[in-house]
């Protein structure tokens, strides 16, 4: 027989990991059939415990026919602030892609980066400039004289490279990722 404490713990763990509301019945299915009634009581205990305690940032919400854990709405401001704080050290996948293009095709212009990625990349280039991962290295002598971008010393340091020559050649992508994925014809670029 599972004791109530363990049932509560198990229910809490499932609610914690789940990202969508879980119907009561489905939640109780993690226990044997004979235990479901006791488990129902344990669930009520978990719900009321979250509601009652002071200093709780999370509560159990019953929505759309299910239970889920959510942060208390009045704490929104703190969360917003937190994401501003952490956002400073984060890069989006778009930024990483752009960084990879600049690294391997430098010096490269904004329009060229856009051509590789198929989407406007000026915002991402700006982010990378702010993070000092890339720098402006002159202008290309073509119509419009676009800026040329290069990677910085910080870039090299971040990736533990002594010089740009240490960047793994494109062919090594196969070594690192395996060739069984999409066959890549590097010469065609």
């Amino acid at each position: 027989m599972t004791d109530s404490g363990e049932m509560q713990a198990a229910l809490e763990a499932v609610l914690f990991v789940a990202s969508e509301p879980i119907p009561r019945g489905k939640l109780l299915e993690i226990f044997d059939e004979g235990e479901r009634e006791a488990a129902g009581e344990a669930l009520d205990t978990v719900v009321s415990r979250y509601g009652a305690e002071a200093g709780k940032g999370v509560l159990v919400e019953e929505v759309a026919g299910g239970f889920r854990l959510v942060t208390r709405p009045e704490l929104h401001g703190y969360l917003r602030k937190f994401f501003e704080v952490t956002g400073r050290t984060k890069l989006s996948m778009a930024a990483l892609e752009t960084l990879a293009i600049v690294a391997y095709r430098q010096p490269v212009t904004g329009p060229e980066v856009q051509d590789y990625r198929g989407v406007n990349s000026s915002g991402v280039l700006k982010t990378l400039l702010e993070r000092r991962l890339i720098k402006i290295a002159g202008r290309k002598q073509v119509v419009g004289k676009p800026f040329l971008y290069r990677t910085t010393r910080e870039f090299l340091m971040h990736f533990g490279l002594e010089s740009l020559e240490d960047l793994p050649p494109l062919e090594e992508i196969e070594d690192v990722f395996g060739a069984q994925q999409t066959p890549l014809e590097l010469e065609s670029l």
């Binding site: 990991v17 994401f83 984060k90 890069l91 989006s92 090594e172």
Partner: protein
């Protein structure tokens, strides 16, 4: 102790029943040290070498693939064994020379430490495998795409991104469809003509050229005819009506002559 080992000689019988699986030659060596109840630092090379070799034979009998790593290690052991049979010369300052086993012993000790560390990682792993964290979903707070902490970005990620870009680029910019251009070589035409031209039956050159599929083939065929004439493999006869007839001569084609023709 040593004499025991020598008498014992081969592998214990139990091995023949249950062949343990080793992570590699060093793992096997450690195992041999263990079952012989000796210290790594005092490894009896001759005995271990024989047992190692016997294990490889066993693998062969069982049709197991013997990895090159094992064979390499076996060669090292045999080399070491032979070295130990020779008297060690004293060094210049009279000290005893280095034990030839030193390198092997150090490798084995290091490997043993690594194995122990791997074992403790395995224990931690088996407990912590049960830990679940919350998947990242910033609760409708930000409409951001997934972000990765700059500190976690490694060269591997950078290469991964580059690969994504290149694959996508290629997908969006497929190679223009091109019909492969047939190429006609003089050598092919040369060989074709040699087969159809005979010594006693006239072969009409213009008819042949008219049957070619395109201008490139005509040019190649014409050059081939000139080549045939140059090598005296054919002779020409022009009729009153203007037809050019070709006959094969008696001369044999030399291999080097064929190779010299543009392929």
């Amino acid at each position: 102790m040593s004499s025991n080992l020598e008498q014992q000689g081969g592998l214990p019988e139990s091995w023949r029943v249950q062949l343990p699986i080793f992570e590699g030659p060093l793992d096997l060596l450690l195992h041999l040290v263990k079952i012989n109840e000796v210290e790594i630092a005092d490894i009896p090379v001759a005995v271990i070498c024989d047992q190692f070799y016997e294990y490889l034979q066993l693998m062969e009998e069982l049709n197991l693939d013997i990895a090159a790593d094992y064979i390499y290690e076996a060669a090292q052991l045999i080399h070491l064994k032979s070295k130990l049979l020779l008297p060690r010369p004293a060094t210049a300052d009279g000290e005893e020379a280095e034990d030839p086993r030193q390198e092997l012993v150090e490798r084995l000790l290091e490997y043993q430490r690594i194995k122990e560390a791997a074992q403790s990682l395995a224990e931690i792993h088996s407990v912590r495998r049960g830990i679940w964290s919350r998947p990242a979903h910033p609760l409708e707070l930000e409409d951001d795409e997934p972000m990765i902490d700059l500190g976690d970005v490694s060269l591997h990620d950078l290469l991964g991104c580059l690969k994504t870009v290149l694959v996508r680029y290629e997908h969006e910019h497929p190679d223009p469809l091109h019909v492969p251009r047939e190429t006609f070589t003089v050598r092919d035409q040369f060989q074709r003509l040699l087969e159809v031209i005979s010594p006693d039956r006239p072969y009409d050159l213009l008819t042949d050229l008219r049957q070619r599929s395109c201008r490139a083939e005509i040019v190649a065929a014409f050059l081939a005819v000139l080549e045939l004439a140059h090598l005296s493999l054919v002779r020409f006869h022009q009729t009153a009506g203007g037809e050019i007839l070709i006959y094969r001569t008696a001369r044999e084609l030399q291999v080097h002559e064929l190779e010299a023709i543009e392929g």
